[in-house]
Symmetry: C2
């Protein structure tokens, strides 16, 4: 009868690094549930991070994301790499319900200890990918996975967020979804390092690829910048998948050699630190589950017209 | 040749309170552009705020929002009230382009000094309604408008945000948009104080109203809570509009008498203060246009695995 089952964080990290799947799952749950052990977990992981190649995969519903990710995982496994997958489910504010989906999705990877797949809620109450996903990425990174895939549905801001998280971002499209013309609108032209037109066996795939190439060609890029390739796959059969794996590898080499990787990771770390710091401050101010403090009194003064929100904010932030 | 045309903030506020439309527009531009005079503007407005009834109007594209708002404005004007409208355009990251739209929309209100209509970008670089819209509401409130309408397209989180801003929230629906069944998904059931099925002359309006009533009836509400009515309009012809105006007025009376208004406004002020404080801190940390400071060094340590993001965040927030 252990009174504090979470207490052995170093032990969990050691077992996760030894490849024990349950330890990995437990660590992700700890960060996802914002366990009190969260800070211990983060501290124990830190020295072991930085080795994984973090690959974002995004695309609108219907482009074949799950099938594509599964095909990529298979290819990486054949190359001897261990692969972790975080599938972000934007429709769920909870994470528990995703377990069945994970089991279904594991499919042919279910008995392979070199693959770990986990669904996560997009929005915890602290808001967005900015919070728990980067910590889950750190768990998989520290556990020694060579590739960590973060899979998101491309809706609203999430493409941009996943691009902020990843070392390399793969944007999936497919014919028949109106993606061609809408690509520019959706903001995907800025975020992709590798573009993949999936369902290439269907009518319209050529046109989607052509339109996409034309739009990418219009973008102003420095001479020494990475030129995102536009590839075609039929993920269901595996056609074209090796080329995508190669392109992702090329991009990883390029960001490593050009110095872009360090810049991307520093930007990611800044966003992460900031998100944690802001959440900490909000809790301290009583805005989010913390004890109501100065903020209530300041808000009452603003409602009464005795104070303006800027002066109130300065008092709040000044005393943070 | 005035070197600092922004300097006479008290004068601008006085002229805005005298009903001078250009002064109102100038003040909104100052807050929207995050002018250095922003804090002076906020301080000068504060003593004059609290009088306006802030009404949020939201609905999916195609429900007839502009026509409905125009019909409401006409009805309020006939009752002798001055009305300001902030139309939030989520598709535009900029505000400049909205000017032509405003002129077109002014239509029959163009020569009426008792109406002020302004389009605003939904997302400034500081993010969301949370930032500039509440300040623009304060400008119109302080300028003596009796009703301030905040009109938003119901996509993603914006219904929830507008409900946070408003004293009373009107949710518009229409037949033929698949709104009926999707209402629950979109989260609109929690935010509306008054529901309006517009285009009531079209097939399916009855069904939308019926489904909506059935879903609202399922919601758990305390006995003394406000029961949101479901009304029907044909905004184009004005049918049903007086009933909507009356329901909005009833809701204003109810929130005033029940104490809910003070709670709503305090919640709004807390969110506002927090948003400003967080933006101030982010700028101070160098995250958003501020001078790069501690954050860069902390991020580098996190990338190197020498520090975890929580410890880094504590150092940042502790020293804020």
């Amino acid at each position: 009868m252990s009174r504090r089952p979470d207490a052995d964080v170093p032990g969990l990290v050691a077992r996760a690094r030894d490849g024990e799947r349950r330890a990995v799952a437990r660590l992700i749950s700890l960060v996802e549930d914002e366990s009190p052990a969260l800070r211990d977990v983060a501290a124990a992981l830190a020295p072991h991070t930085g080795g994984a190649h973090v690959v974002g995969v995004t695309g609108a519903p219907g482009v074949g994301k799950s099938t594509s990710v599964s095909a990529l995982v298979r290819a990486w496994r054949e190359a001897g790499l261990r692969v972790g997958v975080l599938a972000i489910d934007p429709s769920s504010p909870f994470s528990g319900g995703a377990l069945l989906g994970d089991r279904v999705r594991m499919g042919d990877h279910a008995t392979d200890d070199g693959v770990f797949i986990r669904s996560m809620a997009a929005r915890g109450h602290l808001g967005g990918l900015a919070w728990s996903t980067p910590q889950a990425v750190r768990v998989l990174d520290a556990a020694g996975f060579d590739v960590v895939v973060v899979e998101t549905v491309g809706v609203g801001q999430s493409e941009v967020e996943v691009a902020g998280l990843a070392d390399s971002t793969v944007v999936l499209l497919a014919p028949g979804l109106g993606d061609g013309v809408q690509a520019a609108k959706a903001g995907i032209l800025e975020v992709g390092d590798v573009y993949v037109v999936n369902k290439a066996d269907r009518d319209g795939a050529d046109q989607v690829a052509r339109e996409l190439r034309a739009m990418l060609a219009l973008a102003q890029r420095p001479d020494d910048a990475w030129r995102p390739p536009v590839l075609r796959t039929t993920a269901q059969s595996g056609d074209g998948v090796p080329e995508v794996v190669a392109a992702i590898g090329d991009h990883r080499s390029w960001v490593g050699e050009s110095g872009a990787l360090t810049r991307r990771r520093a930007r990611r770390a800044r966003a992460e630190i900031e998100a944690v710091a802001l959440a900490t401050l909000r809790a301290r101010w009583g805005g989010l589950g913390g004890s109501a403090g100065d903020l209530d009194a300041l808000a009452a003064a603003v409602v009464a017209g005795e104070l303006d929100p800027y002066t109130a904010a300065d008092r709040l932030a000044g005393g943070a």
